[in-house]
């Protein structure tokens, strides 16, 4: 749980943003960019010293620990500011409690010398995840295109790729228009920043605790719960994985991929018919809603199986009951104007959904090794995968198939346990009976 971790992110942000500072955010951040670059160089050099001392003493001296802790906090403040996860201009010292999106770091603790000695290698999976979420000098280049020895090309120090970069880009328009940061964007950035802070702290020997990739949100102070969602994720998975089916997972998915493609052709035609029908009648016809809901569920099942978010071989009908599943609300009235331009409106969500596929791929890749070695899928990875699947299903349901008029919620949320016998109850959601 995040509260028990030695590296915790605390959010005290009211989502308000100053249009003026948002408009010039990158220019305003130039002094911080330079300072972050210099501090990063210093951190790298001192990391070698810390590595040697850590191996000899089995813990970091207080002075070095505080230096790296300040660096982790500062980098989080800096990225939060640049990516619009927070509003005020940050200080240059990384002082604790000085910023709305802050990092609490526990004091120095003894660490195993062996893990210190091989820290860089041990951190590789975490670096891969962090580079997918938020590109930093230590977290690789993500999607920046040009790679150099930093792994991130010329924009790496700005987070030149990854999920966070796209969110910051999209949020810039939203903040300029509404003077508010969308809640989902802020929470997703918080997740990325938290993971990056944990990874950096682990890499620089601040803590021996491995980063937790579970996207369960650190709730912002004053926030009232997650907004209601028309497409909800349920997870009833015990984490066990069959090594044999894990080893051959890609090929075992082949028949499903073939069937998914064939069904996808029919779904495309149904989506077109659903769009026309929704424009005419103001709500999706039940039969098309049921058909497309089953397709969305089936997509989730297949992706969950392929990327090891779930264990058992899924069925071919998209029937509810798979360990990683989505519940979809019954058809509801939808504004005709919004329906007419749905694809256009869904463009940001489609872009983000596409970028999150990278995270799902990383989850599958790392989970493959972990599941083969231990016979279990790490819970954090599993939940990260479930989050991307939930968002993908919401994007499909909103943007492509018009199953709901509710915009996808991009923030992480803890998946719900499946309700007991939810599908046989009278009045259960229509999708559940599909």
């Amino acid at each position: 749980m995040p509260d028990q971790l030695p590296i915790r992110v605390v959010v005290e942000d009211d989502l308000r943003r100053s249009r003026l500072t948002v408009a010039f955010r990158l220019i305003l951040a130039i002094p911080h960019i330079l300072w972050f670059f210099i501090w990063s160089l210093g951190a790298f050099i001192l990391a070698i010293v810390a590595w040697v001392i850590g191996i000899v003493r089995g813990r970091l001296p207080d002075g070095l620990h505080d230096f790296f802790a300040s660096y982790v906090r500062y980098s989080t403040h800096f990225f939060a500011y640049v990516l619009l996860a927070a509003n005020p201009y940050p200080g240059f010292t990384g002082r604790q409690g000085s910023y709305p999106l802050d990092v609490e770091i526990a004091g120095p603790e003894p660490q195993r010398r062996l893990t210190i000695a091989f820290r860089l290698f041990l951190a590789i999976p975490a670096i891969i995840i962090a580079s997918t979420l938020l590109s930093t000098p230590f977290a690789g280049g993500g999607g920046s295109g040009q790679n150099d020895e930093w792994g991130g090309g010329e924009y790496a120090f700005l987070g030149g790729g990854g999920v966070a970069f796209l969110v910051g880009f999209l949020a810039w328009f939203s903040c300029l228009a509404r003077a508010r940061m969308p809640r989902g964007f802020r929470d997703l950035l918080t997740y990325a920043l938290r993971y990056n802070a944990q990874m950096t702290a682990y890499l620089f020997f601040v803590t021996a605790r491995y980063p937790d990739s579970d996207p369960a949100e650190p709730r912002a102070a004053g926030d009232e719960g997650i907004p209601p969602q028309a497409v909800r994720m349920t997870v009833d998975d015990d984490g066990r994985r069959s090594r044999v089916t894990v080893f051959f997972r890609l090929f075992l998915t082949f028949p499903h991929l073939v069937w998914l493609t064939l069904w996808g052709v029919a779904a495309l035609l149904a989506a077109l018919a659903n769009w026309v029908a929704t424009l005419v009648s103001g709500r999706p016809p039940r039969v098309l809603h049921r058909f497309l809901s089953a397709y969305v569920r089936y997509t989730v099942h297949v992706a969950a199986f392929l990327f090891l978010v779930a264990n058992p071989f899924p069925g071919f009908t998209g029937a509810p009951g798979y360990p990683v599943d989505v519940e979809i609300d019954p058809p509801e009235p939808q504004p005709r104007l919004a329906s007419a331009f749905r694809l256009l409106l869904a463009l940001p969500a489609l872009l983000l959904g596409g970028t999150l596929l990278g995270l799902l791929f990383v989850v599958g890749m790392l989970g493959w090794f972990a599941s083969l070695a231990t016979g279990r899928m790490p819970e954090g990875l599993r939940n990260a995968g479930a989050f991307t699947l939930r968002y993908g299903a919401q994007v499909d349901a909103y943007g492509l198939y018009l199953l709901t008029a509710r915009y996808p919620y991009s923030g992480p949320s803890r998946p719900a346990e499946p309700a007991a016998e939810p599908y046989d109850e009278p009045g259960a959601p229509l999708a559940a009976t599909a």
């Binding site: 069959s242 044999v244 089916t245 080893f247 051959f248 890609l250 090929f251 075992l252 082949f254 028949p255 073939v258 264990n311 058992p312 071989f313 899924p314 069925g315 071919f316 009908t317 009951g321 798979y322 360990p323």
Partner: protein
């Protein structure tokens, strides 16, 4: 046994025998007596020993791999149903999962033998394929096999649902249809094809095709030289997709133009004598009884409509294939002998044929006279000695 059923079985057996007799007929004269030929008449003692040693290793590798595969599948037939707990799918989906896992085990068990075979071929300069390519290629091919087995399971379990133990009747027909379909589309699945660019050989191919009444059958060259030095050719396709595929290794200076002409005529002979449709017909003769046996044996697990029966069905399929191997080899040898005869009749070049067959020993390390058990179990072509003897028999008869 009730009388009508006995009569039905007798009728089926008679029909099977009659069909087999018709399919067995070839143009090779019934009174043809092959002269005795010693391997030493065609190749040197050293070449004979090298080929014999080479094939001996491959034979044992093959035998051991078959034992390992059958053993693995026997174990899987017992323990495989445990993997049902890894499925959240219905009966057909679960059956697909168990079938794919069965193939996966077969692949794992086969890897050492496949690597050993490659090592041996590389050692004798017959293959330039890397070990990585072999294993990775096998792994990728496994994906295709998974799809095929899923289709097969879909058909079998889909039919076994409503038809119970009688699924084998339409099931056999569907599989024969699929075999025909696969034969039809196979030419399009062969990679790296290019036209035969040698004008003289092309002209000969056209002339032979015209003589044999298969004018529409073209010749393509498959580029395999980067992987192997072994020579090969095949007749592929059905109806409008018929063609002859020559490996580019046949077109290098080791083989004379006349020798390549014999190969061309041999492959065109396969098409002229309808060997591919006949092979499908032979397949049908085995597919129906095979499916029947699988349906009967799997009844103890609830029949093929139950996913629990799939591992046992898979084991039976492989075991039956292995048991039928000597008969299948006999049939293919028979067809190959006819193609050799047609090639001799068409080219009228027995000397080139003799030289070509001898070169199979010197260039491809084909054992000129393998032991009987290997001949029966492994060899799908007549031996080099038999083929040379046929060329000599044709010459002794004075051609046509």
């Amino acid at each position: 046994m009730p009388r009508p059923r006995s009569a039905l079985i007798a009728l089926a057996l008679a029909g099977w025998g009659l069909a087999a007799w018709f399919l067995w007929q070839t143009e090779v004269p019934d009174d043809l007596r092959l002269p005795h030929v010693e391997p030493g008449d065609a190749v040197s003692a050293g070449e004979e020993r090298a080929a014999s040693d080479f094939e001996e290793f491959l034979r044992f590798d093959f035998l051991l791999s078959q034992v390992a595969v059958v053993g693995a599948l026997a174990l899987y037939a017992v323990f495989g149903p445990r993997f049902l707990r890894e499925s959240a799918s219905g009966r057909i989906g679960s059956g697909m999962l168990l079938a794919m896992l069965g193939l996966a085990f077969v692949w794992i068990v086969s890897i050492p033998f496949s690597v050993a075979e490659l090592w041996w071929s590389r050692r004798h300069d017959l293959s330039e394929e890397s070990y990585g390519e072999r294993v990775l290629g096998g792994w990728l091919a496994l994906g295709g096999e998974f799809l095929f087995i899923c289709l097969a399971i879909l058909i079998v379990m889909g039919l076994a649902g409503p038809l119970r133990d009688r699924w084998w009747i339409p099931g056999g027909a569907v599989f024969v249809g699929l075999a025909g379909l696969f034969t039809f589309v196979y030419p399009y699945l062969i990679p790296e094809q290019e036209p035969l660019r040698d004008p003289a050989l092309s002209a000969s191919a056209r002339e032979y095709a015209r003589d044999l009444g298969v004018e529409g059958v073209g010749v393509r060259v498959e580029r395999v030289g980067e992987l192997t030095d072994a020579p090969n050719a095949e007749a592929v396709g059905l109806g409008p997709t018929r063609r002859v595929i020559l490996w580019d290794t046949l077109l290098d200076p080791r083989f004379s133009d006349d020798e390549v002409r014999v190969v061309l005529a041999h492959e065109l002979g396969h098409h002229a004598r309808d060997h591919l449709p006949k092979s499908i017909a032979w397949y049908a003769l085995f597919a129906f009884p095979g499916a029947f046996v699988i349906a009967r044996v799997t009844r103890r697990r609830g029949g093929m409509r139950r996913p629990e029966a799939v591992p046992l069905g898979l084991f039976m399929l492989v075991a039956l294939n292995l048991l039928a191997l000597p008969v299948q080899n006999a049939i293919t040898r028979h067809l190959e002998a006819e193609a050799d005869w047609v090639a001799l009749e068409t080219t009228e070049k027995p000397d080139a044929a003799r030289a070509l067959f001898a070169r199979f020993t010197t260039e491809a390390l084909a054992d000129p006279e393998p032991p009987t058990w290997a001949f029966v179990l492994v060899d799908s072509h007549p031996t080099v000695v038999e083929r040379i003897a046929m060329a000599e028999a044709w010459a002794e008869r004075g051609g046509r």
